[in-house]
Symmetry: C2
Subunit: 171 residues, 2 copies
């Protein structure tokens, strides 16, 4: 991607080239990283990144309702139902009614689910170490943690997307 220098952007305050560079480097590096991670998870565990994230959440909590599970994984409810159904069919989780709230579905990780996490995690850590940690000094990694935690929290505080107007796509 090149700079937006040759546009008529009216009064829009353009970002400094350094700002743009930070943005591009950030998104591109993470895209590449995620791609490698996806490959590893698929190869060693037969699961997608989303499924791995769900299993990790359940591995910590033991069991969660669908709504609790949806928090943290930006997702539509139906999308989560779809993934949970896949995980259940694979025997990695079970689904059942909640005693506290009859409306809720409790999703619980199975032994096989924990086994899958245990099988996949070492490779996952290896990939992130090789691609991320090895490229960054301990000091910089610490800075990165602070910066991106702040960014994450900042975005999380954003008003819900429902505020944004929808337009039909042109194709």
């Amino acid at each position: 991607m090149t700079g937006p220098d040759d546009f008529d952007l009216g009064d829009l305050k353009l970002p400094e080239p350094q700002q743009l560079e930070a943005y591009f480097a950030l998104t591109e590096a993470v895209s590449l990283l995620q791609h490698h991670v996806e490959q590893q998870l698929r190869a060693e565990g037969g699961i997608s990144t989303v499924q791995f994230q769900l299993l990790m959440a359940l591995n910590g909590a033991g069991q969660l309702t669908m709504t609790q599970l949806a928090d943290g994984v930006v997702y539509s409810r139906s999308g989560l139902t779809y993934q949970a159904a896949l995980l259940e069919k694979a025997g990695l989780v079970t689904r059942g009614p909640s005693p506290d709230d009859e409306r809720a579905t409790l999703v619980a990780i199975t032994d096989k689910g924990r086994e899958t996490v245990g099988r996949v995690l070492p490779g996952h850590i290896q990939v992130t170490r090789r691609l991320l940690y090895e490229a960054v000094s301990a000091e910089d990694l610490n800075r990165l943690r602070g910066i991106m935690s702040r960014v994450r929290d900042h975005i999380r505080e954003e008003p819900p997307r429902s505020a944004a107007p929808r337009r039909k796509r042109t194709f």
Copy 2:
């Protein structure tokens, strides 16, 4: 996601909690950011992020071959053909044979394509400013740029993914 404290990972050297935090904050923040960006591009330009990236590349270069266009956008050739066909149908690019190499297809951005970029870019910049730049000091943004540029280059130098063994997914 919680920590992997309760696994038998054998001899695997576990990352420090701070390392994990950096990784999680990084991927989560970028996911959230990309989600907002996608919304904006769709709403104001009717295009996806991938299509925006392709248009940005073409907007700088004027025209590129499919192979050149594929560089930088991690993508299968067929996937690029699919996206290029969509962009062509929408009148944002044209495709034609290359005079230099009869095998190559030259993809060129049209006036309408440039107009779309110009229409979408201000909002794109606004979103990134609101979500990213505003959360980070100038100094930290500069650090972020340096760090992530290094990570990106590091990952780019990785051996091709064909080295990774493929396994069938379990479901």
